[in-house]
Amino acid sequence: MKVRKVTLFDVVSGIVLALLALVLLVPFWQMIVVAFSTTEGYVKSTYHLIPTSFSVDVFSQLFSSSEIMKGMLISLINVLCGWLGGLILCAMGAYALTKKNIIGRKFIFNFIIFTMFFNGGIIPLYIWLKKIYITDTIFCLFLPTLISTFYLLLLKNSFISIPAEMEEAALIDGYNEMQILFKIIIPVSKPVIAAVSLFLIVQYWNDYYNAMMFMNKPDLYPLGLILRNVIISKQALLRTPVAAGAVLPSEQYNMALTMIAMLPILVLYPFVQKYFVAGVMIGAVKE
């Protein structure tokens, strides 16, 4: 077996990548250390990478908070609705656009592309959501962003590379278009479906903007917005001269909450990673 010679470039790029990995890992590790420290351990040295104490007090405090638990539930519902709804609608749209016999297909396609670059902005969107009575409801979290042009294009490019003979065979077997999409096209497009799923899940789990703009009541805030409020609003509050009147969350609380918010994505990522690169590259090269 021929062993490839290790070049200077390999060594340099290896070192650079290792350093980059370290830059990403150190804050993450510090977050874990701080979150699991005792108060005394944290006060003694607020920045330390080798754990000197262990406590899960902050986590029990977090899990007993109805606000956090409710936020997690809202985020979960948001992810489920946004992911499934987005995936189904984008897949249906993408599949339709692969049909060459649709009248005005090119125009429709161009119009969809147009929305990637131009949109009405936040004020028309706010007015629209208000008029259909979904502000201050959980629907405003995922409905406005349910169809993403980018994901639709990814799916279309993937679907178009599937041999037409498969569809023809299904038609001969008596399948209708919906059956072809859900029983033939989607099952053979696992990589791109997994990649788009990951994008959608991360997007909806981390999203706080829709809630921030369209939710006026805090009882429906998702976890992302709660986390953001705890960390960013605290910083804003600290600049005020009356912050002493407020009961501020501790740094350990922030770290633990950040960990909880990151965990689902970290757990999910290894399972879809193998599809990830393959999925986004599908259809990238025209043969």
């Binding site: 147009f114 007015i127 921030m212 703009m213 953001r228 960013i232 407020a246």
Partner: protein, 543 residues
């Protein structure tokens, strides 16, 4: 074909843009403000015709969570209306208010930063002229605060559109380590020289003289107020406004001799290692309370944080104790005048689209009345405070175990008593005085009986007493002109660059040389126009 596609796309774009109009009248080009006003007038007319009084008042404020909303809902029986809250995170609140104003959202009262373009809203008739709503008898607090000399700058063409939210000066105090003071022989600290000497002694024992926590850099030296105050300097407020008015001549304190003396003194501390130098890496605004707590002799900080710092640090060193000391140079525990005010905390306004503007005003009045302040600070009788409620002199008894359950803390700090329509931990007795200024100077600060009995040095009453309102405020202290957005960023950059250089200069001569460079740079960078704009405003509105 391509041309047809392009034309069709253009038509679709035009149609979708038209569909975004706020009008209900099928693409009418009527501007939203006119429509809002029409709607508002129709609503007012309907109410005037004898329709039932509105049962709900919609209040918009930042950062309201469930606990805060529950606390404010305790006002409902007294108000006779249900309070509905619209909220958004504090740092994004301005964007939300802008969106809501643009979309004609129906809020009856909005509490927001005064930096929002409320003057433009007033000119565009998006705000209700409060002169039409205020009844001097029913709205005595609003009447007095909006007509006070202190807030004259908040008039727009002589009309009242916003209500300043009162703020009781500050609760930042000078604190020193009591245990270190004992070790260095309890020296008297009445002047900056005596403070400097104490810092030198503390340094000899291995401590840092004074700690700064500056996550925004030296230009926003909030934790250095004490020094600016002592030397009569200014310009370190985050928004940078710091005017002095002498014989009707406006000057900016950023370039005053007092500021020069302050910076030179800070430079001396820097050169002699009497101040911490790790401020650039400290991200948490109050982190010095914890990070430096074990090594810093003194600091200037919100007093409310000190008990927490003491408690935490005593787990490591039982002798550790911070205590409040009188402001240096003051006769008693009070702030020295620093010629810039913190007498106001945000503003409240009523949009023209409000369905219940009278309700919004009633809520503001109630929240600032003695009854309202007692409810917001003490909570519910028999739940968070005892059935006796408040005594004549503003003392009430909390029920700690219930406070823990309802408010999340056993110390009796209710959620959002501060920062919403007022930051006064007590009451401004406007009925008893002719002017708002007199009433404000005689504010009653509440206290829990537990704090009174234990003589808690960090009780709200003691802390606020130690941090009494700044003196020397003037009518420009609370005014922000449009020129702010034009030149302020550049002036702040110049100031940031030079102040940092001056404080960290290797010698006094170098520091002085940098000051001499700074002043003309500041003037040429927009400072001259900036002061001229405020002078013009002062001449027209405040003389």
């Amino acid at each position: 074909m391509k041309r047809i596609s392009a034309v069709l796309l253009a038509v679709l774009l035009a149609l979708s843009t038209a569909a975004c109009s706020t009008s209900d009248r099928g693409g009418s080009s009527t501007p939203p403000k006119t429509e809002s006003k029409v709607e508002s007038k129709v609503e007012s007319q309907e109410t005037a015709k004898g329709s039932e009084e509105p049962k709900t008042v919609k209040m918009m404020a930042d950062g309201m969570d469930d606990k805060a909303i529950s606390q404010w809902k305790l006002l409902e029986p007294e108000l006779g209306m249900e309070i509905e809250f619209l909220t958004a995170p504090g740092d994004q609140f301005a964007q939300k208010v802008n969106t809501m104003m643009a979309t004609g959202e129906e809020a009856d009262l909005i509490t927001c930063e005064d930096s929002l373009p409320w003057r433009s809203w007033a000119e565009d008739e998006l705000l209700i002229d409060l002169d039409e709503l205020i009844d001097p008898v029913d709205h005595i607090y609003v009447e007095k605060i909006t007509s006070s000399d202190l807030f004259k700058g908040y008039l727009n063409d002589g009309k009242r559109y916003v209500i300043p939210n009162a703020h009781h000066g500050n609760d930042w105090t000078m604190v020193v380590r009591k245990d270190i003071m004992e070790k260095i022989g309890n020296p008297e600290i009445n002047t900056m020289e005596e403070y400097y000497d104490a810092m030198v002694k503390a340094k000899e024992m291995g401590y840092i003289g004074v700690g700064f926590s500056l996550d925004d850099g030296l230009v926003k030296l909030q934790t250095a107020f004490q020094f600016f105050s002592y030397f009569g300097g200014g310009g370190m407020k985050p928004d940078g406004r710091s005017f002095d008015i002498n014989n009707d001549v406006v000057t900016d304190l950023s370039v005053s001799d007092g500021t020069k003396q302050t910076l030179l003194f800070l430079n001396k501390l820097y050169r002699e290692d009497l101040m911490n130098k790790d401020y650039a890496t400290i991200k948490d605004g109050f982190l010095s309370t914890y990070v430096d707590a074990g090594k810093v002799f003194s600091l200037f900080t919100p007093a409310g944080n000190i008990p927490m710092a003491n408690e935490k640090m005593q787990t490591l060193d039982p002798s550790f104790e911070y205590e409040i000391i009188p402001a240096i140079g003051a006769d008693r525990p009070e702030f020295r005048p620093i010629t810039q005010g913190f007498n106001m905390w945000k503003v409240s306004l009523i949009p023209a689209t409000a369905k219940n503007p009278a309700g919004g005003l009633k809520l503001f009045e109630l929240a600032n009345s003695r009854t309202g302040r007692e409810i917001l600070i003490g909570g519910e009788k028999g739940v968070t405070m005892t059935e006796e409620g408040f005594s004549e002199d503003g003392v009430f008894t909390i029920i700690p175990e219930n406070c823990e359950k309802v408010w999340g803390n056993a110390t009796g700090i209710s959620p959002r008593w501060w920062g919403l329509m007022s930051t006064v931990y007590g009451y401004i007795p406007v009925e008893e005085y002719d002017t708002y200024e007199e009433a404000y100077a005689n504010e009653m600060i509440f206290s829990t009986s537990q704090d009174v009995e234990s003589d808690n040095p960090f009780s709200n009453r003691n802390v606020i007493e130690a941090g009494r309102p700044y003196g020397g405020v003037n009518v420009l202290s609370e005014v922000a002109l449009p020129i702010e957005s034009e030149v302020r960023p550049n002036l702040n950059n110049i100031k940031g660059e030079y102040w940092n250089k001056i404080i960290t200069a290797p010698s006094e001569e170098e520091a002085e040389k940098l000051w001499e460079e700074f002043v003309p740079q500041w003037e040429a960078g927009g400072g001259t126009d900036y002061v001229a704009a405020y002078q013009e405003y002062y001449d027209e509105n405040c003389k």
